[in-house]
């Protein structure tokens, strides 16, 4: 069977890989959306946090012989703890200033972090083995899907939908959203808003750390792995609508799929297609597909 002259095997295979990439886009843009939506900060250091998550997993294994499953928990926690530190020390001073300052601060931060890691570990990739339980592949008829990649899609979907549910459907989420609309009023009701903001930031970067651990066995762990990805992820956020939780999940996965499709029909354009879509979306709907105009 062929679709537009392309064997359907190739088409389905690339779509499936697109889904895996889309899962990473979704998790990273989700973290960005949470941070922007609640803190109003454009966190350019998000890619560096993703890289730190991957390195945390590698260091846990290398220095402490702690394997993948514990890393899945410990690495995001440590990245989140680091997030608390920078929020308390740096970010809190700039909330009242223009977006631009937050962006420049986090951009500088990511350059510093990448520099430190490059100095410590070199630019070459560190290998990380796929955990025993997830090795091997499943034959789907049109392709062999490595089990680990299926696992990545699964985890990412659960985490993304869980986050969406908590923020949009629970009381905690309601407090969070109210806190961003009118912090003084919410504090008057007895909610500790600064603590909430700090923890939200920690959660956002923790998500990036988790994505880093998931990526570790798939890609080479190297200091620049975050900056390679982050530009695309920002485009995803812009297309989805700044600060929109659902928007970032749907566009993340959707753009992964579109990228996969482009690889089949015109592979040279696959690295550009996301930005073409971004330009079109900005022209037609400046607030993004899911963003609300204010």
């Amino acid at each position: 069977m062929e679709i537009f002259g392309v064997p359907h095997q190739a088409l389905l295979g690339q779509l499936l890989l697109g889904l895996v990439n889309g899962s990473f886009y979704a998790m990273l843009s989700l973290g960005l959306a949470v941070i922007f939506g609640l803190l109003n900060i454009i966190n350019f250091a998000h890619g560096a946090m993703y890289m730190m998550g991957a390195y945390a997993a590698w260091m846990l294994l290398e220095y402490f012989q702690i394997g993948y499953w514990w890393s899945l928990l410990l690495a995001p926690l440590s990245v989140g703890a680091f997030g608390i530190l920078i929020e308390r020390v740096l970010m809190k001073w700039i909330y009242r200033l223009d977006h631009l300052y937050g962006l420049l601060l986090t951009f500088g931060l990511s350059l510093i972090l990448e520099g430190i890691y490059r100095d410590q570990f070199g630019v070459s990739g560190q290998p990380y083995q796929v955990p025993e339980l997830l090795r091997g592949a499943t034959d789907l008829g049109f392709m062999r899907l490595p089990n680990y990649r299926a696992w990545v899609v699964l985890v990412s979907l659960i985490v993304c939908l869980g986050t969406w549910y908590v923020i949009e459907r629970t009381r905690l989420g309601a407090n969070l959203r109210a806190g961003t609309e009118n912090p003084q009023l919410v504090q008057a009701f007895g909610v500790n808003v600064p603590l909430m903001v700090t923890l939200t930031f920690a959660f956002g970067v923790g998500l990036a750390g988790l994505a880093g651990v998931l990526a570790a066995p798939l890609y080479q762990i190297n200091p620049l792995m975050g900056s390679n990805l982050i530009i695309t992820v920002f485009a995803v956020v812009v297309i989805g609508g700044m600060g929109s939780i659902l928007g970032s999940i749907v566009t993340g996965i959707g753009l992964g799929l579109i990228e996969g499709l482009t690889k089949v029909f015109w592979s040279e354009a696959s690295s550009t297609v996301v930005f073409v879509i971004m330009a079109i979306v900005l022209l037609v709907r400046p607030a993004g597909l899911f963003g609300r105009e204010k």
Partner: protein
């Protein structure tokens, strides 16, 4: 405790536009940084011109610079090991030449042509370096070949393979010492087609070396009756090969030619096994080093044909060198390591014989005298800078055939240099006078 609260969200449109603009700028910056200018300006002063007479050594020291990839995807096959090998050659030579000290220094070019060219320029201008060796990564090698010509110093290119180094980009100050993509394509392309792999698809590293290796091999495949179904280019040091491999799989070609090296080859082979490509298709690594086989393991690589310019287990002389090298680095030497040793040794011999470190005089001496050491026998330096030396066709052993550590290859054929390399008459080197 009073803290400042997040302000009311400003208009998201503004932030979105700002961000879109920044994304666009970042993209431009990325694209620009990948262009990588070789940074070879004109008009530098030529090095000290040699005049006849007593020993003439610039700066009263013979200094050898090993420029290599110390931390990237080629660090294992070159890297620190190349510096160690050059130092071993210096020690074997006795540490002094013409009564003057020899020095070996190393540097990392980060696989960037501009970084490499600037480093070499600094070496030549301020640090009295006379000869640069290893120089793996063809993009870097082409750039430093130009700097060496401008400064009248010598580049003995060992690790870089692009056949452009003895064609379009040849010059009188560049020696292409160990191997090239023409010979690799010739040997492994022929061997695989003969073994039944008629239709090919290439997975190619997207820079000078990958392009040369792909086109040279494709030429040989067609010449020996095979067919090329297509190619896909991947960026140097690619993190994920899965979508490229699916394209290779969809091509239904019998053979997937890996026109890449080092970490890229390792990752491509790993991903091919992961996605089950190896069941119906054959992988042909067009430049595989013994360190790559070591990190992939025999289980994954067994039966693979590959072309190599040297193997530590060829004879007693190479085995002795292998053991000495292993004691210092905990790995067996690759062709690049042994080539760095040999190029340093041959250079020092030439300086000793001619009494000068002037590049043109040394090159002239090397052209007239055949080179003999543990790396090659009766090797000849041609006018286009190509060293014509024997190459080998290897096949990776099965795990059961490997009797001791690093016992990885069957030597299936020795290909004499005259057959392996491109005849000079077919070359495009402007420095060769065509009669």
């Amino acid at each position: 405790m009073q803290r400042k609260h997040p302000q009311q969200p400003q208009q998201p449109q503004f932030a979105a536009k700002l961000l879109a603009g920044l994304v666009a700028m970042a993209l431009c910056a990325t694209a620009w940084s990948q262009v990588g200018s070789p940074g070879a300006g004109k008009g530098g002063s030529a090095g000290a011109a040699a005049t006849k007479g007593a020993p003439r050594i610039s700066g009263n020291v013979v200094k050898i610079g090993v420029l290599t990839d110390m931390s990237g995807l080629y660090a294992d096959l070159g890297g620190e090991g190349s510096v160690v090998a050059a130092k071993m050659a210096m020690e074997d030579f006795g540490g002094r030449v013409l009564g003057l000290p020899i020095e070996v220094i190393g540097a990392d070019h980060l696989n960037k042509a501009d970084v490499g060219a600037n480093k070499v320029r600094e070496w030549y201008d301020t640090q009295n370096v006379d000869m640069v060796t290893d120089a793996l990564n063809s993009a870097v090698a082409i750039a430093i070949g130009k700097v060496s010509q401008e400064k009248n110093k010598l580049a003995m290119i060992v690790g870089a393979g692009s056949s452009r180094l003895s064609n379009e980009d040849c010059n009188l100050n560049t020696i292409h010492y160990a191997y090239d993509t023409y010979a690799l394509g010739n040997i492994s392309g022929n061997a695989v087609v003969k073994a039944g792999g008629k239709s090919w698809f290439f997975l190619t590293a997207d820079y000078a070396f990958g392009h040369s290796l792909e086109s040279d091999t494709a030429g040989w495949v067609k010449k020996s009756g095979g067919e090329v179904k297509g190619a896909v280019r991947h960026p140097l040091n690619a993190s994920d090969f899965s979508s490229f491999l699916l394209q290779a799989q969809a091509s239904k070609a019998q053979v997937i030619g890996l026109a890449n090296a080092g970490g890229d080859t390792i990752n491509a082979i790993k991903a091919a096994v992961e996605f089950g490509l190896t069941k119906n298709q054959t992988l042909a690594g067009l430049l595989v080093f013994i360190t790559d086989v070591h990190s992939l393991g025999l289980q994954t690589t067994q039966g693979m044909y590959l072309a190599d310019g040297w193997y530590w287990d060829l004879n007693d002389e190479t085995r002795r060198f292998g053991k000495r090298f292993f004691e210092r680095t905990k790995k067996m030497p690759t062709m690049v390591h042994a080539g760095s040793y040999s190029s340093t040794l041959q250079y020092l011999r030439a300086v000793q014989a001619t009494g000068t470190d002037d590049a043109r005089v040394v090159v002239d001496y090397l052209r007239k005298n055949r080179m003999n050491d543990l790396f090659h026998k009766n090797a000849v330096l041609r006018e286009d800078g190509r060293v014509v030396r024997d190459m080998y066709l290897m096949q990776v052993k099965k795990p059961s055939e490997s009797k001791y550590p690093w016992d990885y290859y069957h030597v299936r054929a020795t290909v004499p240099g005259e057959q392996a390399y491109q005849p000079m008459a077919q070359g495009k080197c402007p420095a060769v006078r065509k009669s």
